[in-house]
Symmetry: C2
Subunit: 152 residues, 2 copies
Amino acid sequence: MSEASTAVDAWEALFRAQVSVLRALSAEFPTDEISLTEYDLLFNLSRQPEHRLRIRDLHAHLLLTQPSVSRMVDRLAARGLVAKSTDPSDGRGTIVTLTDDGHELYRRVGVQHARSISRIVGGALSPAELRQLAALCVKLRTATAHEATHAS
Amino acid sequence: MSEASTAVDAWEALFRAQVSVLRALSAEFPTDEISLTEYDLLFNLSRQPEHRLRIRDLHAHLLLTQPSVSRMVDRLAARGLVAKSTDPSDGRGTIVTLTDDGHELYRRVGVQHARSISRIVGGALSPAELRQLAALCVKLRTATAHEATHAS
DNA sequence: CTCCACTCTATGCATACGCAACGAGCGGTC
DNA sequence: GACCGCTCGTTGCGTATGCATAGAGTGGAG
C-alpha cells in the first residue's frame, strides 16, 4: 500500500471516528443551554491567557467562516457570556473576552461533557492507547497548522 | 493523571486535529461542485454493496439530523447524483442509490481530495504513525458505534 | 504628509440546518 | 381483521450559516 493511500485511510478513519464520537456526544450535550460549536468557542477562549482572543485568532480555531464567528460572538455577547472590545493596539481588531457568567456556564457544561467523553472515549481505548492517540493527533494538528500558516 | 482526564485530553486532541485538517482540506475542496458534507454522503454510498442505503442507515454515518439528510438527498436527487426509491421490503423506507453521474463526480472530486489529504496528513506523520492512528481510530469508532446501538 | 494596498470585522442576502409535528406504513395484540 | 403503538421519512418554520461586499483602520512607499 502506497504512502498516499495510507494517509487517506488514516484521515478517513480519524474522520469517521470523530463523526461517531461526536454523534454520541451530541446526543447527550445540553443543547438547551449552548450549542456544541458555541461551547467550542468558549473552550478556546478559556484556554487563552486572560481568557481573551481577537476574532481573527479565535476564527483560526473554529470550523466556521469569519462572518459566522463574528455573528456567533455577537450572540454570545448578547447573552453576557463574552464581552467585545476594540483592540487598543489595532483598531481593526475586536477582542473577545470570556465573562464570569460565560466561564461559569463553560465549566458547568464542561463537567457534564467531560463525563460523556470519559465514558464514550475512555470506554473504547486503554489509557496507553489514549495517550498514544493524543500524541499522534497533537503532531498532526501542529504540522497542519504550520502548513496553513506557511501556505498563506 | 486519571483515566478520565486522559480520555478527555485524547478526545480534545483528536477534535482539534480534525478541525485543523478539515480547515486545510476545506480551503482546497471544490465547493463549487459539491459541499464537503454532500461529498461525505456520496462517499458513504460508494462504500456500500451496490452503492445504496436506506436513508435511516445513511443518516447513521453523517453528522446531520434526520430531516437534514432527507433534504440533502432530495437536493442530490434533483441534480441526478443519487436516485430515490421506496424500499420494497418496508414501505416506510426510502432507498438512496448512487447514480453513474454521482459516482463519476464522487470519483473526480475524490481524486483531488485524496491529493490534498496525502499532502496535508501524509506530510505530518510517518507511514507507521499513520497506520497506528488508523488502527486506534477504527477501534474508537467501532466501540462508539457499538455503544450507540446498545444505548438505543 | 499623502496615498494606496491590504487587513479586519460587520452586514445583506440566499440557502442549509435543526426542531417540532405530521402522515404513511409496519407489526404485534386482541 | 381491527386497532394501536411505534417506525420512518417529509414538511413547515425559525435560526444559523456561507458568500459577497462594504467600510474602518493600518502600515509602508513615495
